[in-house]
């Protein structure tokens, strides 16, 4: 287990990052011009890293499967980005952001990483404003904030319900500046098919041009994987259709350890599944929980009547509603962390109080917020004794200004007006805290291979707090990786260009071609989607919001069988050497079929409940998660050994020097 050196710098928590930056090696500007860096993925982490590395003087190549770097799925993040600016004067500080994040992650993340994240969070906002990101502002011209789950301050900056879009466009603009200068070569509609190792170091990738089908070799002195999470292993998730684990999984197969694969975030506020045809799920931002109240009927007969369409939710009296989050968690109310809110929704629906025809939905109600804002608006507009209709009209305007795009999105999908009747929501897979194991420098266990953003496992422990993914992606990309990678690259100033005609590249390309040939040579019984949906059902039913040993063991067996079936019977139409979306999907699903099994294995081995990982065997009498710090206060990093079932566990013990481990309470 000596391999897992997290390389956390010594010294007091608050000084570690500054000290580390002063201690590590730099590359002089003239030498940077001779060094090539490959960045795979162009979301917040990849886009920010690529722009910054190019600005520093490295030659950067970026790769994305989308037709533009700006379409990476970071763009879909809605609610906001956290930063410990304390503009609201409500007692926020770097320490509080650090503390909230560690606690929110249920004490399963590294102190030093999380403190660094909090420390650079303020810079992110400064940077983005300088880049022209149009954050929401107050009338005095200052930046506005709102609150998110699991915290007691308002530290979330936002741009309507499209914060991810605006931040990504900022990073993309910074990339464009470097593309225009010739410092970034942007390869769009390209997919990384494998990582190439030379003398044990990451030295390049094999990529497929998705338009022509050509297989290309690209070399670099280091490879950065910023390829997002693996939520699509569940088939239905809030991820984009193309989001996949291929790059990370290929690296895993080449020696990068995969950490905590079972830590998945099930987001409480998504639009419920409407039928078998469903291809993806849509999130309704957590910011809505600032103003929306979550409830189900108190009485079973009301729930049944609502499900059958005989009773409207607006007809139900206040005293007949169960605002179960406010009831169970009075201190945090509707703003408990995501894992807690999701489990509470599942608990009510499992008990029979679900409010749509499938029985898997709860209400998110804005009626009281509309009235509250309407009254305030009437006062500030100088209206005395306004009538009810005026108040509601004014209140709806305020809500529209805050969340208009989300309400419109809801109405288009569900065909109901959420201003007039409560939204129906249900938890859905949203984010994966697990990912490639990285040290403090964001380097994986393969020298020269780095992982940033959601693709790594680093900062969120067993549960991520809202508005923290954007923070981490940009922190990794703008402010962490560009420093730490320099330390590694400083040893490469005399290496010269990495040739792509070496036996290692030859072999890697051959493997890629063989795999595609195998994928297209199946007997052709079932489509790729058939397998993906089957895998998703196993994952959701047995590795989802609540897990137990028996079902996890079944899942491992079922996924393994399904993978065998896939390789024998999948039907992939079209050819290898042309544009072929079926082939693209097949390659991704093949990797999900391996990851899914490791996921279940990891969940089975972790005999405790923590954050998003809830094992039914380990809960308190009130149904809260029961952690086992004595036996499981570690990062589980898995080494590839062939079949997922043979993966070898390595542990990184988590050391808490600054925070006392407690049972998480939001009561």
């Amino acid at each position: 287990m000596g391999i897992l050196d997290s390389k956390i710098p010594s010294g007091p928590l608050a000084d570690k990052w500054t000290k580390h930056k002063n201690d590590i090696n730099l590359v002089n500007p003239a030498n940077k011009r001779n060094i090539d860096v490959i960045v795979v993925g162009t979301g917040l982490a990849g886009g920010a890293a690529a722009a910054t590395l190019a600005e520093l003087g490295y030659n950067v190549k970026t790769f994305c499967y989308q037709d533009s770097p700006r379409r990476a799925h970071s763009i879909a993040a809605q609610g906001g980005i956290n930063a410990a600016k304390n503009y609201q004067g409500d007692g926020d500080s770097n320490y509080r952001l650090f503390y909230d994040t560690i606690k929110g992650g249920d004490y399963r993340s590294r102190e030093a990483n999380v403190y660094r994240l909090a420390e650079v969070s303020g810079n992110i906002i400064d940077q983005c404003v300088a880049q022209g990101v149009p954050f929401a502002r107050e009338y005095g011209g200052m930046l506005d904030n709102r609150s998110f789950g699991g915290v007691l301050v308002s530290r979330t900056f936002y741009a309507k319900g499209q914060t991810g879009q605006q931040l990504l466009l900022g990073a993309y603009a910074a990339m464009n500046r470097q593309i225009n200068r010739g410092k970034i070569q942007s390869y769009t509609r390209h997919e990384m098919m494998d990582l190439v190792l030379v003398d044990g170091k990451a030295r390049g990738i094999i990529a497929r041009n998705l338009v022509t089908g050509e297989i290309e070799r690209h070399s670099g002195h280091a490879v950065v994987l910023a390829t997002g999470g693996y939520g699509n292993v569940f088939f239905l998730s809030t991820n984009a259709m193309g989001s996949n684990v291929m790059a990370a999984w290929r690296a895993h197969r080449k020696g990068a350890f995969f950490a905590n694969p079972c830590y998945t975030q099930i987001h409480p506020t998504c639009i419920p599944v409407s039928g078998e045809h469903q291809s993806k799920l849509t999130l309704m931002s957590e910011s809505l929980r600032n103003d929306g109240r979550i409830w189900v009927p108190k009485k079973m007969e009301d729930a049944v009547a609502i499900r059958e369409g005989k009773l409207k939710p607006t007809q139900l009296a206040e005293e007949d509603r169960d605002y179960y989050l406010e009831r169970r968690y009075p201190a945090f109310g509707n703003l408990v962390p995501r894992d807690v809110a999701s489990r509470a929704a599942k608990e009510r629906c499992d008990a029979g109080f679900g409010v749509n025809k499938t029985g898997e939905a709860v209400f998110l109600d804005f009626a009281s917020a509309i009235k509250r804002y309407g009254k305030e608006k009437a006062l500030t507009s100088g209206l005395k004794n306004p009538d009810e209709a005026t108040i509601i009209k004014l209140g709806e305007e305020v809500i529209e200004a805050k969340y208009g795009n989300l309400f419109q999105m809801y109405e288009k999908i569900v065909d109901e007006n959420p201003y007039k009747t409560p939204m129906k929501i249900y938890p859905a897979v949203h984010y994966t805290m697990g990912g490639l194991w990285v040290d403090y420098n964001l380097q994986t266990t393969i020298p020269g291979c780095y992982a940033a953003g959601e693709a790594n496992f680093s900062d969120h422990g067993a549960n991520r707090l809202g508005a923290s993914a954007l923070m981490q992606g940009l922190a990794d990309g703008y402010f962490v990786l560009p420093y730490t990678i320099g330390d590694y690259l400083s040893k490469d100033i005399r290496t010269g260009k990495i040739p792509t005609d070496s036996p290692e590249f030859e072999e890697a390309e051959k493997q890629v071609r063989d795999r595609m040939a195998k994928l297209t040579s199946g007997s052709g019984i079932h489509s790729v989607d058939y397998y993906h949906k089957k895998l998703g059902k196993i994952m959701w039913n047995k590795c989802g919001m609540a897990r137990n040993a028996k079902e996890l063991e079944e899942a491992i067996k079922e996924i393994s069988d399904l993978r065998k079936d896939f390789w024998e019977n999948v039907k992939v139409t079209g050819t290898i050497d042309s544009k072929n979306q079926e082939l693209e999907k097949a390659g991704r699903v093949a990797d999900f079929l391996e990851l899914g099994e490791l996921f279940a294995k990891d969940a089975l081995h972790r005999n405790e409940s923590c954050g998003g990982h809830f094992r039914e065997e380990y809960q308190t009498e009130e149904g809260e998660a029961l952690r086992d710090d004595k036996n499981f206060k570690y990062v589980a990093a898995w080494e590839y050994k062939g079949e997922p079932k043979d993966a070898e566990l390595h542990k990184e013990d988590l050391v808490y020097e600054n925070i006392e481990l407690k049972t998480r309470s939001y009561k």
Binding site: D126, V129, Q131, Q165, A173, N176, H277, Q408, K412
Partner: protein, 248 residues
């Protein structure tokens, strides 16, 4: 419901394309338009035929990848939605639906319904940014107050998803709405004013080089824009361009 689909099929950029007829049964109102195409493709694959390729990714109306011309309208008959947010309840049993790629000289077809929109990339590379280093060593975010009205208007312009519906809707295939949205976002913010002159000149020059047509103020782009980007952005860009030219 049962639908009669007329879909543009084209093997690759250099092959000629044609409309092919398909009949699809069992479509439900709750399905999105793309889920309807998923079902068609599932049927085609099961028959061993090549599925219809189309661009899509987030399926929640924000990435700007999906790009279908449906019955002659970019993103179909509904307003303020992308194709992925269009639901089949907007159609009736027995309808015939014509599905084509976005049409413009600057957007060549790659395959079936997929077009190459890299011209938009190059317009943004020409100047769609503020030249500030990403070091984080800038001034405090609140050191320059920005009038809320300007900030909101910049945000409205910045919500453009770069899908290209404006170009597909325009009889001249003009990219003025797209380009002006980017120019406006920066022109409205103090941080963006510094390079405003060079930016508008460089972006407009690139737009013209890409072969987009001119704007003749028909306003079709604004009607079809899934994000409601306003024509006033074009007026603003024209003012910016004129004053940049005068400053020379």
């Amino acid at each position: 419901m049962k639908l009669y689909l007329k879909i543009w099929r084209q093997k690759d950029a250099s092959s000629p394309g044609k409309i092919v007829d398909y009949t699809l049964d069992g479509v439900e109102g709750d399905m999105s338009f793309l889920e309807m195409l998923d079902i068609l493709n599932e049927e085609l694959v099961s028959k061993g035929e090549e599925p219809v390729e189309f661009d899509h990714d987030c399926r929640e109306g924000i990435c700007g990848t999906c790009s279908l011309q449906i019955n002659g309208e970019p993103h179909g008959p509904d307003r303020l939605v992308t194709t992925c947010q269009l639901h089949m309840r907007k159609f009736n049993d027995g309808d015939t639906i014509v599905i084509e790629p976005f049409r413009a000289t600057a957007f060549p077809v790659i395959k079936d319904l997929i077009v190459d929109r890299s011209a938009f990339e190059r317009i943004q590379q020409a100047g769609g940014y503020i030249s500030v280093n990403t070091s984080g060593n800038t001034v405090d975010a609140n050191s320059i107050p920005i009038n809320k009205h300007d900030a909101d208007e910049a945000m409205d312009a910045a919500t453009c998803i770069g899908c290209g519906a404006c170009v597909a809707a325009c009889k001249n295939a003009s990219a003025m709405l797209f380009t002006s949205a980017k120019v406006s976002q920066f022109a409205l913010l103090p941080q963006g004013r510094v390079e405003a002159v060079e930016r508008v000149q460089n972006m407009v020059r690139q737009m013209d080089l890409e072969g987009f047509g001119n704007c003749t103020n028909t306003g079709a782009c604004e009607v079809e824009c899934p994000k409601g980007i306003s024509l006033t952005n074009i007026a603003r860009m024209n003012r910016e361009y004129l004053s940049a030219t005068l400053k020379g």
